[in-house]
């Protein structure tokens, strides 16, 4: 979709949702989904992402606001008339129907002719590499196969929008990674507009064109994966998406788009400013672990600390360093890197490019 003109397909405007009239589950939600894009709603449980998806699917009704599909309001249309494909975390396959009957259900209820139904079911099963399982019952399939059936069932009727609620949540890591790529490639092949809910930031980064990070019912940040990862707008996003070091600091001066800040231990660091940065205000200095270079020798601009722990994870070494103020910083280096201090208790000097650190909102 990159380069293509962005055509708004679905939009939520001013959507509010409260169940008890006291607490908002979703508040002031404005979101535009472009045609053919893969948008992930990412957030911890209770952040409002699933409720948003359920409102899109029509199982929940917004307390206020509007949901538009191609400019037409759909929030008062029952789910069966929306023509949206939904994939559930539990798959929600019908256990009393075979795989083929499950996949053909949407066509049967639409009154599609028998041979046409059979043809389209066969075609979709073929595309999903499920042809061999057509006559099996869902309980006879593995988790990954069930997941593909659920996807086939949600795609066979050519939905205007595909909604997925943590569809890979019940699978083991290896299978999950395999299916992430498969779903992504199917979405591209069929030109689908997908709204995908997950709490797994790695999954979101792997699959999405854009990610909307949810917390407390608000969208904290929305943008392409690399932007969310490398330019987080606040402490929550920085901490939730990817591993991150967040150091409490006070901004001492601001110069252009760089700010000088003092850490608890008194050391001075430089980081890029954000909308939160003001001289004299508290800030969180955010820096990704893989962007820090641990040195044995001191150099200007490097923070000095001591190695407190070293963890071997196969492809990486994680070096934990304690700064004089008590802050702990984690550094990731490839296992192949040499000249890295790995003796516990040894002095270590942490250096990073000032433009890769951000001065985010403080505590």
């Amino acid at each position: 979709m990159i380069g293509a003109p962005k055509e708004v397909h679905v939009s939520l405007s001013g959507v509010l949702k409260t169940y008890d009239g006291q607490h908002y589950v979703v508040r002031d939600l404005d979101l535009e989904v472009y045609k053919g894009e893969f948008l992930t709603l990412l957030g911890p449980s209770g952040s409002g992402k699933t409720t948003t998806l359920m409102m899109l699917a029509g199982f929940e009704h917004p307390t206020d606001g509007a949901i538009l599909l191609d400019g037409r309001p759909v929030h008062n249309i029952p789910p069966e008339k929306r023509n949206f494909g939904v994939v559930f975390q539990s798959y929600a396959l019908f256990p009393h129907m075979t795989v083929a009957e499950n996949v053909g259900y949407s066509l049967r209820v639409r009154g599609t002719a028998k041979d046409e139904t059979a043809r389209r079911v066969a075609g979709t099963l073929e595309a999903m590499r499920l042809s061999d399982f057509a006559q099996r019952y869902p309980t006879a399939l593995s988790g990954g196969q069930q997941q593909r059936v659920a996807l086939a069932r949600a795609l066979v009727f050519e939905p205007d929008l595909v909604l997925m609620d943590e569809p890979l949540g019940a699978l083991d890591k290896r299978l999950r990674e395999e299916l992430q790529l498969e779903i992504r490639s199917i979405a591209e092949r069929f030109g689908l507009t997908v709204i995908y809910v997950t709490h797994d930031q790695e999954e979101a980064l792997t699959m999405s064109d854009r990610i909307a990070v949810f917390n407390n019912g608000y969208i904290q940040q929305i943008g392409p994966a690399e932007e969310i990862y490398s330019r987080p707008v606040n402490r929550f996003v920085a901490g939730f998406v990817g591993d991150n070091n967040g150091l409490d600091a006070t901004v001492t001066s601001v110069e252009g788009d760089l700010a000088q800040a003092r850490l608890r231990g008194g050391a001075e660091v430089v980081a890029r400013t954000t909308s939160h940065t003001r001289a004299g205000a508290p800030a969180t200095i955010s820096i990704r672990p893989e962007l820090i270079v641990p040195l044995k020798e001191a150099r200007p601009g490097a923070l000095s600390g001591t190695v407190s722990n070293v963890v071997y994870t196969g492809d990486q070494l994680r070096i934990y360093a304690t700064l004089p103020g008590g802050d702990e910083v984690v550094v990731k280096r490839p296992t192949s890197a040499t000249d890295v201090p790995t003796e516990i208790g040894a002095p270590v000097h942490l250096y990073w490019d000032p433009t890769s650190a951000w001065a985010l909102d403080g505590q």
């Binding site: 699917a57 029509g58 199982f59 029952p78 789910p79 069966e80 008339k81 929306r82 023509n83 949206f84 494909g85 939904v86 559930f88 975390q89 539990s90 929600a92 396959l93 019908f94 256990p95 009393h96 259900y105 949407s106 209820v109 639409r110 069932r153 949600a154 009727f157 909604l163 070293v310 071997y312 790995t342």
Partner: protein, 419 residues
């Protein structure tokens, strides 16, 4: 840091061999037997209090030794009789001797009652013969005894009574079962088939099945929506409804039926309400009718139908209905094609339970039904405790049991297939 300098390949050569050796297999089988051990008290209990009584009842329904035990020589002598006219005079002599012995042993009336089950006036016929015999020693001449007996009761000059006695030289017969099935069993003095003994068991069985079916259908119709709401609603609504469903278990069945009588009787709550509202001129008699019986039984059985349905419905994830809706099915269609088919085992289990329990009802129909609403259970109770005709009571039970098994087996298989 250094890694793996002490690791080595410790995979044994046989590690891919997954076959289980004989000794291990024996251990596994022994373990399974041990695991079943906690079920032993139940099995023992069932053996003593279910299997043994059932076998006893089965035995009682075919055990019929009264005649053979009291008149062994007569029945033996009758085996050579061709069944036409009357037997030889010598048989009258044998019978007279055995009747005398029975009179002295005090078993004559019991014998008479047994004969009366299948011979019109059988008790009288036997008593008349016994009374006609002289007080002292019996005449040595069998011809004289024959004349005395025929003189006392003309039935002795006809084949009917003799044919019946002829049948029972063995202690077992199908008589009670034939009686319970409504087959012709009663003869008159001439040996011709006569009208039945006043009970139309096929009609009673049919009525039992029809009432049970009606109650089953009603409990499913009323119970299904309730079970659906309980199974699908989270939190308080479901809990309160479930509590209401379980509430009747807290009171005795008798109390509940009695309270229904209070509600339904001629000047009861329902009639007073209807007449008071001007909807009825004169109170109706709801009580002692077929609808009252069905209504009372439905009320009693509702929980038994709902609970199995509920337990199955609870296993149907809510996401499945949502899934069906998202695929284009309206709420009713989604329910009919997704929820209902999966609830069928529960409906079958609940129906089965209620239907089988209904077949055995007798107190409720007796309390709120008319005489023409009495179910087979009432008759079993009557023959057991009032008429002391245990053979017939047992035979009625066996027929009921077998009938219930035949009627419910297809449903039971369905429940098992889904379970």
């Amino acid at each position: 840091m250094s890694y793996g300098d002490v690791s080595r390949d410790i995979t044994p050569a046989r590690s891919r061999d997954l076959r289980v050796s004989g000794a291990i297999r024996k251990k596994a089988v022994g373990g399974a037997a041990k695991a079943a051990l906690p079920a032993a008290p139940l099995l023992l209990f069932l053996l003593l209090f279910l299997v043994v009584p059932l076998l006893t009842i089965l035995h009682s329904s075919v055990s019929d030794e009264q005649i053979a035990a009291t008149l062994p020589e007569t029945t033996a002598a009758l085996q050579s009789w061709d069944g036409t006219g009357v037997p030889a005079a010598a048989v009258y002599g044998t019978l007279a001797g055995e009747l005398r012995a029975a009179d002295e042993a005090g078993t004559l009336r019991r014998l008479g009652r047994r004969v009366q089950y299948e011979l019109e006036g059988g008790l009288g016929i036997l008593l008349n013969a016994s009374r006609a015999l002289p007080e002292e020693a019996l005449p040595g001449d069998a011809q004289a005894i024959r004349e005395l007996m025929v003189g006392a009761d003309p039935a002795w000059g006809k084949p009917g009574v003799w044919r019946i006695l002829q049948r029972y030289d063995t202690p077992y017969s199908s008589f009670y079962l034939r009686w319970a099935l409504g087959l012709p069993t009663v003869l008159d003095a001439d040996g011709a088939v006569s009208d039945g003994p006043g009970y139309d068991f096929p009609t009673i069985y049919l009525r039992t099945v029809l009432i049970s079916l009606a109650v089953t259908v009603l409990t499913v119709l009323i119970g299904y929506p309730v079970a659906y709401v309980i199974a699908t609603s989270a939190g308080r609504t479901g809990a309160i409804l479930l509590f209401l469903i379980l509430l009747p278990f807290w009171t005795s069945l008798l109390v509940r039926v009695m309270s229904l009588i209070v509600v339904l009787q001629t000047n009861g709550v329902v009639n007073q309400l209807l007449t008071g509202m001007g909807l009825l001129g004169d109170p109706l008699s709801f009580l002692y009718t077929r609808p009252a019986t069905i209504f009372a039984m439905t009320q009693i059985q509702l929980s038994f139908t709902v609970l199995p349905m509920l337990s199955v419905m609870r296993t149907i994830p809510a996401d499945q209905l949502r899934g069906a809706r998202s695929l284009g099915a309206g709420p009713i269609r989604a329910h009919a094609t997704i929820f209902l088919p999966q609830a069928v085992p529960g409906i079958a289990a609940g129906s089965l339970l209620t239907f089988v329990m209904c077949l055995g009802f007798y107190i409720t129909p007796e309390l709120v039904g008319s005489p023409s609403d009495q179910m087979v259970g009432s008759f079993i109770a009557q023959f057991t405790s009032e008429d002391l005709n245990w053979g017939l009571a047992a035979a009625l039970s066996v027929v009921l049991c077998a009938g219930a098994a035949i009627l419910t087996l297809p449903l039971a298989r369905r429940v098992r297939r889904h379970a």
